[in-house]
């Protein structure tokens, strides 16, 4: 052992205390941490700051006052019926979309995990909507769900009146089903990965004990993929709460009559179209708080042993 090595050895515990056991790891995570700070943390902090000020976007060099306004923007947002309606809409969306996504993804993943015919084809088929551009798929759904569309033709006299996308009661549920269908492929993939890790012995011993297929699904599969379920529920909640493209395109700007407006659509209208980024930022901050609360609740419920 050289002298240098000895010195390094003495300094080691202190370095470990500050930087962890593998300081090299920090270098590896640094680019992503920098990315997070730049693309998420900084804009989020900026949004919080904007939401407490009278703020609008200006040309570089323009001299404007941006006074601190306290909770004014939040008061404006919370007393705006359109905002309350949008949060109500998103709640309806989540109540339909998240359970539907989770249940369908788990059932289909279990089926695809078994040895069935055309397994690869089906996996690809479920994944295609997820990777297809939303704008294109929305076009297809417009043809399916408009008054004279395929769905109403098949339903005949049972078709709803007013039709799906212009019906105040059905517009949001239709969007929830659309989003569930579109994103299913991704969540199936998460479950498929989780299912690979379920030990075969568990199924074998269940079979030995005389469990039916349904029983082994309920008693073995569901508990074994619980961490994946938590992930699926939280991801579906987060992507769902950020709903924008569908109310923007599928229902023509949150129609009918605001019944499918989402908080992010309102943020776009207020912040970008109408030049009130301060109000939009307040909606955004409230949305973040809402998503965190719902996600924590989900996690608590799902991770209960």
């Amino acid at each position: 052992m050289t002298l240098q090595d000895a010195r390094r050895g003495a300094a080691w515990p202190r370095v470990t205390a500050i930087l962890g056991r593998h300081p090299g790891g920090l270098a590896l995570v640094a680019p992503y941490a920098a990315f997070l700070a730049l693309v998420f943390a900084y804009p989020f902090g900026f949004a919080v700051w904007i939401s407490f000020h009278d703020y609008f976007f200006t040309a570089p060099g323009a001299q404007v006052d941006r006074p601190f306004v306290g909770l004014d923007n939040y008061t404006a947002v919370l007393t705006d019926p359109a905002v309350r309606q949008a949060f109500g809409n998103i709640l309806v969306f989540l109540v339909i979309n998240v359970p539907l996504t989770t249940v369908l993804a788990l059932l289909l993943a279990t089926a695809l995990n078994g040895a069935i015919r055309a397994r690869t084809f089906l996996r690809v088929a479920y994944y295609v909507p997820y990777v297809t551009a939303s704008v294109a798929v929305v076009g297809v759904w417009l043809f399916l769900f408009n008054s004279g569309g395929l769905v109403n033709k098949v339903l005949g006299p049972l078709a709803p009146d007013p039709s799906w996308l212009v019906n105040e009661k059905l517009a949001m549920p239709t969007i929830a089903v659309y989003v569930a269908w579109k994103q299913l492929g991704f969540f199936i993939l998460l479950y498929l990965a989780a299912l690979q890790n379920v030990p075969k012995e568990l199924y074998e011993s269940a079979a030995v004990d005389g469990a039916t297929r349904w029983q082994s699904f309920r008693k073995v599969t569901v508990p074994a993929v619980r961490p994946a379920t938590t992930l699926v529920v939280i991801l579906a909640t987060i992507t769902g709460a950020n709903l924008f493209t569908e109310p923007y395109l599928l229902t023509g700007g949150g129609g009918p009559n605001g019944a499918s407006a989402s908080p992010v659509l309102l943020m776009y209208q207020r912040g970008i179209e109408q030049g009130q980024p301060d109000v939009a930022a307040a909606i955004g901050v409230l949305l973040v708080a809402f998503v965190i609360a719902v996600s924590l609740l989900n996690r608590r419920l799902l991770e209960r042993s």
Partner: protein, 431 residues
């Protein structure tokens, strides 16, 4: 530790952000010196094919005579809307010198952002604008009395009808009764009842703020003899005239003569609607496909065509504060709106330069293209969107009230309009 480290990193990031935001901008960038500077400039054109062709030819003509003040033209970068892209460019400080597609409704916002140059800073500019456009120029002045836009071209809207479908419905296609609300409704009912087309007329029933420009606003302009949506800081739609227009549309929606669901395509071209509210661009678009006729928008009493006002659907040119060589930009602006270039624009696009006495300025063109004559006459009687603070929010507020009461019939028009008028009055006052 596992959880406190990320939390403290986040708190640190937030702290840095807040500290960074507190500082305020200092650079003045007021453009002193830029007003008289000359040199190369960049301009943006709309992405309409015909306009791009005109723009390129115009730039070529300019560049040939000004080798030291070269103009580079490009199309407005793609985005959800041009206004969004321009707003972002203003904030980023990389807007071009001139944009030949500046929507009048967006001007108050761009002005508030500090993004526009008051054209009055150039000697003789106000005179130039007023001489070229005539008394209509007044509508384009901002509330501080200055011109932040040069009124460039309009697309005055009229009712286009499909002669074949009208004949099928048993309506005289050469002289259809569409002047009064009662006549219009009777014709619409015939179209629907005869099965000639599923819809009599099909304006977009969606909630975007600008959709009212193509259903309510033209008829409102006609009914009120040229009132704007907001005048002297007060909403004008909650009036007997405004309510008459709204009730007319409400009847069309209630009876299914105008559908409440957005059409996925061009309803007029596809024969799904027998009528449409369009500007002169429609002649080139439908000219070959549909046997069409055009009449002014209806009024409750059937005013003579020569008195009817309508919405202008204008697009203007504005100069942006990021421009370094503003003297050149102003010269280019005058060059591009000269009698010669306006004539070229009319020839190439069929859109109406915002010039006083259009038909007499280009008699040869209108002799050769009689179809455009009606639109040229109409171009002399147009109403612009009001140039007031919070213009877009005002239009969205109005659209939401219209959507609720007129399209979906959830509320009486009088209630919805009264509530909206109250909000609009407040918004127009700048608060």
């Amino acid at each position: 530790m596992r959880r406190t480290l990320p939390a403290s990193l986040l708190a640190l990031a937030l702290g840095i952000t807040v500290a960074g935001c507190g500082g305020g901008d200092s650079d003045s960038g007021s453009g002193k010196g830029a007003d008289s500077a000359r040199g190369p400039i960049t301009i943006w054109l709309s992405n309409n094919q015909e306009e791009v062709a005109w723009g390129k030819a115009m730039v070529e003509a300019w560049n040939a005579g000004h080798p030291d003040e070269k103009v580079t033209a490009q199309e407005i970068p793609a985005g959800k809307s041009s206004e969004e892209v321009i707003g972002a460019a203003i904030t980023a400080g990389n807007a071009p010198c001139l944009i030949f597609n500046t929507a009048p409704a967006a001007v108050p916002q761009f002005q508030k952002q500090g993004g526009l140059v008051a054209l009055d800073t150039f000697p003789g500019a106000a005179d130039y604008i007023e001489q070229r456009t005539g008394s209509a120029a007044e509508q384009y002045k901002s509330s501080d009395g200055k011109y932040y836009q040069l009124p460039w071209k309009s697309n005055p809207v009229m009712i286009f009808y499909n002669k074949t479908l009208l004949a099928k419905a048993g309506v005289d296609p050469e002289n259809p009764p569409l002047a009064t609300y009662d006549q219009f409704l009777a014709t619409a009912r015939k179209i629907k009842a005869s099965g000639a087309a599923p819809a009599a007329i099909y304006p977009a029933p969606t909630s975007e703020f600008f959709q009212s420009w193509f259903d309510f606003y033209p008829l409102f302009a006609a009914e009120t003899d040229g009132k704007q949506l907001v005048e002297d800081g007060k909403a004008q739609f909650n009036t007997p005239e405004g309510q008459r227009v709204a009730e007319f549309w409400r009847t069309l929606y209630a009876e299914g003569l105008a559908p409440k669901e957005k059409y996925n395509g061009d309803s007029f071209a596809d024969g799904k609607a027998a009528m449409a509210i369009v500007g002169p661009w429609a002649i080139a678009v439908y000219g070959e496909k549909v046997k069409w006729g055009a009449v002014p928008v209806p009024t409750s009493t059937g005013k003579p065509a020569s008195e009817i006002k309508t919405f202008s659907d204008a697009k203007n040119v504005a100069m942006y504060t990021s421009c370094k060589n503003r003297a050149t930009a102003w010269d280019v602006l005058k060059f591009a709106t000269s009698k010669e270039q306006d004539g070229a624009l009319l020839e190439k696009t069929g859109q109406m330069p915002l010039r006083a006495d259009l038909p007499t300025t280009y008699p040869d063109y209108f002799a050769e293209h009689p179809a455009y004559k009606a639109f040229a006459d109409q171009a002399g009687r147009t109403v612009e969107v009001p140039n007031v603070p919070n213009a877009i929010t005002i239009w969205q507020t109005f659209r939401d009230a219209y959507s609720e009461s007129v399209i979906f019939g959830k509320k009486p028009v009088s209630d919805a309009f009264a509530e909206a008028a109250q909000k609009v009055d407040q918004l127009a006052s700048g608060s």
